[in-house]
Symmetry: C2
Subunit: 129 residues, 2 copies
């Protein structure tokens, strides 16, 4: 199954999203990579890279991000991956909580990387009220 | 300023969103109301109601939610408010992380309830890549 990395500026947000998504998709490899290296508000490319290694089971990894500067850290993490792995990692353009949950459910069905990415992005179209 | 209540199924997500948003909008009253009464994954109407009281400083409160069942709990919480307060509380239709952050920044400028609600919803239109 496709693995999922959750990159939030807050370690608590990343871990909490993992908790919710994992409850709906027990077998998916979901890894939280929130906060800086010392657990403060921010993001860290090395932490993200390690999370990608951990999330990867050979079927690709999608990286969920919260804000613009998380995208920069995620892109830096991707640059340092070897080319083979990098081809199978994508940053999702999606709302982080809502996108991660639908992506996890989709990944649990065995869907491929492009399908999971596309499902995550479609969370922009879901309304709550 | 308008107050903000964060209702997530995960206590960590609610607290972490507060941490991020508060860093960008120090003076806004942001209250986390995540998880069930015993801290498990879920939501709790009573906890949300107490958070609304705490967030309210007389200028209205917006309630951010993560998933459909959080909306139900928030609606139940609103039903038990007295009419005067209830008129000044709105559930936002917005992505919870991205919406809470822009709403907090908007609230910090002294914007009114309708304007803050509308800013939160516009977060559906923001793209990350």
């Amino acid at each position: 199954m496709v693995g999922i990395v959750i990159v939030s500026h807050s370690p608590k947000v990343a871990e909490g999203i993992k908790d919710i998504a994992q409850q709906m998709a027990k077998d998916v490899n979901i890894v939280a990579a929130g906060g800086t290296s010392d657990g403060e508000i921010g993001t860290d490319a090395l932490k993200i890279q390690e999370a990608i290694f951990e999330a990867n089971t050979g079927n690709g990894v999608i990286v969920m991000v919260d804000l613009g500067s998380a995208v920069l850290s995620a892109e830096t993490a991707l640059e340092f991956l070897d080319e083979e792995l990098r081809k199978n990692v994508r940053i999702a353009d999606a709302p982080i909580v809502e996108g991660a949950i639908v992506a996890a459910v989709q990944a649990s069905t065995g869907a491929g990387l492009e399908e999971v990415i596309s499902t995550a992005s479609e969370a922009y179209n879901l309304r709550k009220l």
